[in-house]
Structures are given as structure tokens and as C-alpha cells.
């Protein structure tokens, strides 16, 4: 049963990950963005558990556990606290025209699928066809970091890019070694803490968390 439907379910979850990446790209509200990020972490966690049970790679259960703790619970909590303290909870961001961003996103997806196709043919894993989706979500997170002007969405983009990388590793070679994974997890955690401090500094200086202020080198 699981052997038969497992790979199909993994494919479905991969598709949901791609969908969530697009949802994040199109989201205007910062609060919903963080909730979507938590949802992406949850889907990633379920997908990892499925890969683990289909392939019998027991270390993936640990990765799934780390994902659950860090990306579904801890990081969204930190981010929620951050936006409450910064008081940007209901900020509606004015950014590039969203439909244009989405069209660029589709082009990126086609690019990622084409890039991944030869690699997946070489891989022997059951998850090989999802590599294209993993690469696409990395690129979409990149796009999000580029097109957003406020700092918090940029941080969320950075974190969701790590989600994409994690999924790519699971898809291509059934996950990274545990030491590397723990190292990355710690990096992401520290990065989000440092970025949090950084955001407070930006706001203190400019009364807003718009990173466009940082482009000016001198004060008037």
C-alpha cells in the first residue's frame, strides 16, 4: 500500500510545496506570509517522513523532527513575535506588480524543470522527479527576496529558500548527513535571530523596515 502510493503521495506533496511557494510570492500581508511559511515547513516535514518510510532511511525521521521543531514551531513563533514587536503585522506591502512577478515565476519554474531533467534521469531515488520542484522553490524564494522591499518578507524568503534546499537534498540523495543538517538548522536559527536584531536597528534608524532606505550611502 505505502510502497505503491508512497511515491505518488510524495509527488503530490512536492506539488503542494510548489503551490505554497507561489502563494508566498503573491502574498501581500506579512502575517499570512509567515503562516504560509509555517505551512510550507509542515508539508516538508510530512514529505520527509513519507520518504523515510518508503525508503527505510531512518535518519530522515530525525531530519523531519528537526524540521517540525524548527520550521513549523520555533521560527514562525520568532517571526510572529518579531512582527508584533515591530508592529508591522497588518502591513500591506506595495511592491512590484504581482501578476508580473508570477509570470517571471512561471519562467523560473520552466527553467528549473529543464535544468533538473538530466540530473533526475541519472538519480536512482524514488523521489528523483521532484528535484525540479525543489529547484523551482529555491528560485522562487530567491525571486521573493529580490522583489520585496520590506525586510521581514526578505527574511521569510531566505528561510523558505532553505526549505527548498532541504527538499532538494531529500529528493536527490535522501538527505544530507546529520552533522551538515544540524549545522544548517543552527545557521538558520542564528541567522533569523541576528536578522531580528538587525531589523530593530533598521527601524530605529529609519522609522521603517523598508530596506530601500539602506541604498542611500549618505544622510542628507
Amino acid at each position: 500500500m505505502l510502497q505503491h502510493y508512497g511515491p505518488q503521495l510524495i509527488n503530490l506533496l512536492a506539488a503542494v510545496l510548489l503551490l505554497l511557494a507561489f502563494a508566498m510570492l503573491s502574498q501581500r500581508r506579512i502575517l499570512s506570509l509567515i503562516n504560509l511559511f509555517a505551512a510550507q515547513g509542515a508539508v516538508l516535514c510530512v514529505a520527509t517522513v513519507l520518504v523515510a518510510s518508503v525508503t527505510g532511511q531512518s535518519h530522515l525521521y530525525w531530519s523531519a523532527g528537526v524540521t517540525l521543531l524548527l520550521k513549523v514551531l520555533l521560527l514562525p513563533w520568532i517571526l510572529h513575535r518579531l512582527i508584533r514587536r515591530l508592529n508591522v503585522k497588518w502591513d500591506v506591502e506595495t511592491l512590484l506588480n504581482i501578476p508580473t512577478t508570477m509570470l517571471v515565476g512561471i519562467v523560473l519554474v520552466i527553467l528549473a524543470f529543464n535544468l533538473a531533467a538530466p540530473i533526475s534521469q541519472l538519480a536512482g531515488t524514488v523521489t528523483r522527479s521532484t528535484l525540479g520542484i525543489a529547484m523551482a522553490s529555491v528560485l522562487l524564494s530567491f525571486l521573493m527576496m529580490i522583489t520585496r522591499s520590506k525586510a521581514v518578507p526578505q527574511v521569510v524568503g531566505f528561510l523558505s529558500m532553505e526549505n527548498g534546499l532541504f527538499f532538494a537534498a531529500t529528493a536527490a540523495v535522501y538527505g544530507m548527513p546529520m552533522v551538515v543538517e544540524l549545522g544548517i538548522a543552527l545557521d538558520v536559527l542564528v541567522a533569523s535571530l541576528i536578522l531580528g536584531v538587525f531589523l530593530f536597528q533598521i527601524r530605529e534608524r529609519f522609522d521603517s523596515v523598508d530596506t530601500r532606505h539602506l541604498e542611500k550611502l549618505k544622510e542628507h
Binding site: Y5, L18, M102, V109
Partner: protein
């Protein structure tokens, strides 16, 4: 084409004509329940139709013959599409009359005439409604076509009847692409049927209405035909969605027992679908008309993604 097939086709068409107002009534009832209002009876749309058929027709002085012909043309288009979409059985005579692409064309013809009729009298409201309808329509149509293309890619045929045969009678498999296509189709059918995030079917508030603005000048039996046609449109879209995404229980042509068994399955699926539609309408707010392009753009994006995902994961 033998007599039995023709009889099955006729039954299907008759059923569509009779069930369509019931579906509208059911959606309204579910919506009233969810809004904590006491619901109008399930048969209210039939009573409205009966009342309108008895009333006399009031025409504007400058109404052209097109204005009088449009309700029948639109009703005819939608009745034909209801006969083409497989509801009870596949492989019926009219199924071969049009494939999925021609079906979209048929629905576009209906939209064309309703927009013309809206502009015919020359009132501001009718023109406003027609322009908005065309805006929504031209954005929804490509998304709908992409959804149908995805299903066609899976089943290697653009005929709805074959799509249902392939999807409904093969071993159960999960298609991620159909999940995307399903969301896109839901958005498209909300927009096409003038449901809440895009249009509100229960309002005559001038600034927000789309569909109601176009049929504002109609009365009597013309209005009855228009109302019936919009019920039929909801029915056609629901059945198209059920045929694409939940094709289980639809019989093959000529299998009479199957057709008889397909009827309760269809009614149950429509009941669940109608309740889901009411739930979506309750949970979402009417959006500004200028947000509609973005909403429908999302549907197009999802449908394109569905095709890409199909190529990547399922090919």
C-alpha cells in the same frame, strides 16, 4: 446512433433542464443556513420561474430583435452544452458533437450574446455589466482551456467523454497536476457563474453587479429564460468539474443499469458540490472589480503549473 442512445441522451438533457434550478435553490439554501438566516424553500427557483413565465413582457421602445432573441439563443447554447457534458453516461450521441475546446467556444457564444443584449437598450448599467462580463470572460477562458488541456494530456484526448472514460475507469492514482487544475477550475467557475469573490448573485447594488446589470432590462418570460440559463450554466460548470475531477460513477453509454445507478451518485455529488460552493461564498468577501484580473490570473497560473507538473511528474 441507435434509439436507446438517443433516449439516454434525451433523458440526460431533460434531467439537466429540470435539475438546474434545484441546484441553484440548494446553493441558496445552504448559504442561508450558513448565514444563520431561515432559508427560502428548496423549490423557490421553480416558483420564481413559474411566476416570471406568467408575467407579461415589457420591452423598451428601442429594443432590437436581437434583444428578444438573445434569451432563447443563450438558453439554447447552455442547454446544448449541458447535453455535451457527460453527466450520467459517456459515449452518448451528442458527446461527439463537440470536444472540450468547442464546449468552451459554445459557452463563449452564450457570453457574447448576453453581452450584446446587455448593451442593446443603451442604458449605462447594461453597458457597464457587459464590459465587466467580457473582462472577466476573456481572463477566465484561457485558464479554463488550460485546465481542460491538462486533463486532455493525461487522457490523450480532448473529448470530454473520453476524458471521463479514461479518468473514471482506470486504477486509482494520485495526479498532482489535477489538484492544481482543480483549484484553477474552482476559481474559473466562481468567476464565470458570477459567484461571490467576483460578483454577488444576490445584489442589485449598482457599483458591484456584473451579471445582474446585463439582465436588468429583461422581464417576463425573457427574464425567466435568462434566470433558467444562468442556473443551467452553474449546472454545466458543476457537472464539468465533477466529470473532470470526480468522474466515478458515470456509466458507459448503453449500460442502462449503470445510468440508473449514476443518477443518485450525480445528485449526491451535486449536493456536496453545492454545499462547498455555498461555503466558499460565505468565507470570502466580494473583491473589487480591479482585483478580479489578479484573481483570474492566479487561476491561469495554476492551470499552467498543472501542465508543467504533469510533464515533470507524470509523463
Amino acid at each position: 446512433m441507435n434509439l436507446a442512445d438517443a433516449a439516454a441522451q434525451f433523458t440526460e438533457l431533460l434531467l439537466a433542464l429540470l435539475l438546474a434550478p434545484l441546484l441553484t435553490g440548494w446553493v441558496n439554501q445552504c448559504r442561508s443556513w450558513l448565514q444563520n438566516r431561515s432559508a427560502p424553500g428548496l423549490l423557490q427557483p421553480y416558483r420564481v420561474l413559474a411566476k416570471l413565465f406568467e408575467k407579461e413582457v415589457v420591452l423598451a421602445h428601442n429594443a432590437s430583435p436581437l434583444f428578444r432573441a438573445a434569451p432563447y439563443l443563450i438558453f439554447g447554447c447552455l442547454a446544448l452544452s449541458a447535453a455535451i457534458v457527460p453527466t450520467l453516461a459517456t459515449g452518448l450521441p451528442l458527446n461527439a458533437a463537440a470536444d472540450a475546446i468547442a464546449l468552451v467556444g459554445l459557452l463563449a457564444v452564450a457570453r457574447f450574446f448576453i453581452a450584446l443584449a446587455g448593451m442593446d437598450i443603451g442604458t449605462a448599467f447594461g453597458t457597464l455589466g457587459a464590459r465587466r462580463e467580457m473582462l472577466v470572460g476573456f481572463l477566465a477562458e484561457p485558464a479554463l482551456l488550460m485546465v481542460l488541456f491538462t486533463a486532455s494530456l493525461i487522457s490523450q484526448s480532448s473529448s470530454l467523454s473520453t476524458i471521463v472514460d479514461v479518468l473514471g475507469h482506470r486504477e486509482f492514482a494520485i495526479y498532482p497536476s489535477m489538484a492544481f487544475a482543480g483549484v484553477a477550475f474552482t476559481i474559473v467557475s466562481l468567476a464565470e457563474n458570477a459567484r461571490i469573490p467576483v460578483d454577488n448573485p444576490a445584489t442589485h447594488l449598482e457599483l458591484t453587479m456584473i451579471h445582474e446589470a446585463m439582465i436588468l432590462e429583461y422581464s417576463g418570460r425573457h427574464l425567466a429564460m435568462m434566470e433558467w440559463a444562468s442556473s443551467l450554466k452553474l449546472f454545466v460548470y458543476s457537472c464539468m468539474g465533477l466529470a473532470l475531477f470526480f468522474p466515478f460513477g458515470i456509466a458507459r453509454g448503453g449500460d442502462w443499469l449503470g445510468i440508473v445507478l449514476a443518477l443518485p451518485v450525480l445528485v449526491a455529488k451535486l449536493a456536496v458540490g453545492g454545499a462547498a460552493l455555498a461555503l466558499i461564498e460565505i468565507l470570502s468577501a466580494k473583491m473589487r472589480i480591479f482585483r478580479a484580473p489578479e484573481f483570474l490570473g492566479t487561476a491561469f497560473l495554476l492551470a499552467v503549473l498543472a501542465m508543467l507538473v504533469h510533464v515533470l511528474l507524470e509523463a
